[in-house]
Symmetry: C2
């Protein structure tokens, strides 16, 4: 299969590209290195010493004998050249990671809000339009987020995208429908994924573009079998307050003896997935594309739900480190129920990597090995979700 | 009241600015003349001889003694200068017309799709962010469209934004909620108004920005009491295939003896409103802003529902002109029921201008007077809603 990976230099995009290449697919990456430029802006760096993409690609060829193509293009700004790549490569599938993916980053300032909306909506719109222009009927696999649903489900299990609903009109007449579960995003970043969902809805309905929207939980872990094949293939590990996800931040805090910072009560329940399962989920979605004419397929890409304070306690116990409660910079409920369906990917064959199993490996492989690279001043989260007129 | 009108040089924006100024409000217009530039692109012109904005503003001062301020700014590109205007003018309300508003234009090519998404989402995002940056708690009145709901309501009356729903989760558990009526846009343009609705939802929830989203029907008519005060104040009248709305196109076709072009069976039911009611609705929304902390207010800004072929027959009978059925360039149901609630604005005091009443005036005032300016080659619609992969 020919697979174009947009954002293939990133945290999820890189191990996905390797995994798909390893499976024998012809992989081509488009990336504009915007994630690396944000590191420069924030004056942070991956904990792990990631190599420039050209070094990564050479290393991959050396260890696997397989070549991954690459074009340095900004899908938002270089529409015509992206169209050329799509036209000449003619992919069977496109994995779309090319979006600004941090909620705290999207909340740093109004510049960051505007950047995130503009970048993410134009990346998605340009991709969909390029498929129309090129006449390439590729399956689009997009990385969404569980956060489109919001975290207050009032006792309901979150479905995979769609929910059965009975609507009651102003005259009391009823109509039964299957609708997209009503969105309730908690940050500007999460809002952009709801905008994406509507763009997919429309272009699927109008033009028949086949889309799988994978609403991913919080990713933890770093390495996959492929990235472990060479030090030059190492994946990024973010631990800073903007891009570091909660479990990875706890791991590095544990490794350097920094107290685990729990925002508020830590009663927030969130959905998690290991990076090894991320790459496998994308493989599974690729292997069973939606049929022509079917609506957007939505799958929840997550394997476990945990309360933040339970994770902190687990790591605190395992690694004998304190837990500190700090004030919560986000606007969110500090206690929520979360029950979410994730049957779709399991039915396609996913066998989840459990937290207990992966946790120690992560600590050994990454946190202990590279903890001398930690800049502790970058650990606290600085972005505030402040209310302007409330 | 101090009122900023974004897009105040346009078809709805101009008569709204005059109306609000006439009522004694302090009005300031921001416009980048993008609508006039699109006329240049499409090689069409308003049927009515509209004057440059500076001439319009001078004429208004002459006939009314009132000044309307103006800054030539692109809200998408000139964020900092828009922020300056908002900060120094400190409006009580902002009427947001600054979007690409034609569905056929948005479907002309992928360039037009991308332009419409980019322009409309960035206009709205920039406006919301500028309010946060300026610390100005202005009431935002946005012109949405009835088209966000779609036209297949399966026997339900379309509500005003929100609908009571019972959701059933994958385990069969039920939850009653009041949700945004599920969107089903029929063009890229309509899709952008659904994106706007989610942006308003988020910034209202997070930051307390007060928003009224007016989901407008198809506007017909041209003149208002204010625009009739001087020939230099005349409003634009579009009759071309992209920007001309159906009833105005029928009027001009009748005036020049061009057969009325009905797309498909003409069984499409659509919601209509006269331009005089548009300006009055905005006044009414301004006079009763949503209170601090309340959710986005959604009102349907329409007064009548008609089938397209009934309108064609009415005009055909009145003006003795033929009706031609042409193939429908749009992807839409050619027969639909449409029942929509529009109580909100009536409760606020709207007294609708009925079709029969306004129709003859329009024909006399506009179509007969300026029909020598018609370029018949511009009447047919050229944009196709073609399916790419279906």
């Amino acid at each position: 299969m020919k697979i174009l990976v947009l954002g293939g230099d990133g945290f999820c995009g890189w191990p996905t590209s390797l995994h798909l290449s390893q499976l024998g697919h012809e992989v081509f990456i488009i990336d504009d290195f915007s994630r690396r430029r944000i590191d420069v802006e924030l004056e942070v760096d991956s904990l792990t010493p990631i190599q420039p993409l050209s070094v990564r690609l050479d290393a991959w060829q050396r260890v696997s004998g397989k070549r991954i193509g690459f074009a340095h293009l900004d899908i938002c700004a270089d529409y015509d050249r992206v169209l050329e790549v799509i036209g000449s490569f003619s992919p069977d599938a496109i994995v779309h990671f090319a979006e600004q993916k941090s909620a705290p980053y999207s909340m740093k300032s109004t510049w960051h809000k505007r950047y995130t909306v503009s970048r993410n909506t134009s990346a998605t719109t340009n991709l969909l339009c390029a498929l129309l222009d090129a006449g390439v009927d590729a399956h689009v696999i997009h990385l969404g987020t569980m956060g489109v649903y919001g975290y207050e489900s009032a006792g309901l299990m979150l479905p995979e995208g769609y929910v059965d609903a009975i609507l009651e009109d102003p005259k009391g007449r009823l109509s039964k429908r299957r609708i997209l579960y009503p969105f309730d995003p908690g940050s500007v970043y999460h809002t952009t994924k709801t905008l994406d969902a509507l763009l997919f809805y429309y272009f699927n309905k109008q033009d028949g573009i086949r889309v799988t929207d994978l609403h991913q939980g919080i990713v933890w872990g770093t390495s996959t079998k492929d990235t472990e094949l060479s030090e030059d293939l190492i994946n990024r590990f973010d631990y800073d307050g903007d891009f570091g996800t909660v479990l990875n931040r706890f791991l590095i805090q544990a490794a350097v003896g920094f107290p685990l910072t729990v925002h508020g009560s830590g009663g927030q329940r969130r959905a998690f997935i290991n990076i090894r399962d991320t790459v496998r989920c994308i493989e599974l979605a690729l292997m069973s594309p939606p049929s022509s004419g079917s609506q957007v397929r939505v799958l929840n890409q997550m394997t476990e739900v945990h309360r933040i304070r339970d994770l902190a306690r687990l790591i605190s116990r395992l690694f004998r480190v304190e837990v500190n409660s700090v004030s919560n910079p986000r606007t969110e409920d500090e206690e929520n129920a979360l029950d979410a369906s994730c049957d779709g990917l399991v039915q396609l064959g996913l066998k989840p990597t459990l937290l207990e199993e992966g946790l120690l490996r992560e600590l050994e492989y990454i946190a202990r090995k590279y903890h001398h690279r930690v800049d502790s001043s970058r650990i606290p989260s600085q972005s505030l979700w402040s209310h302007r007129f409330k």
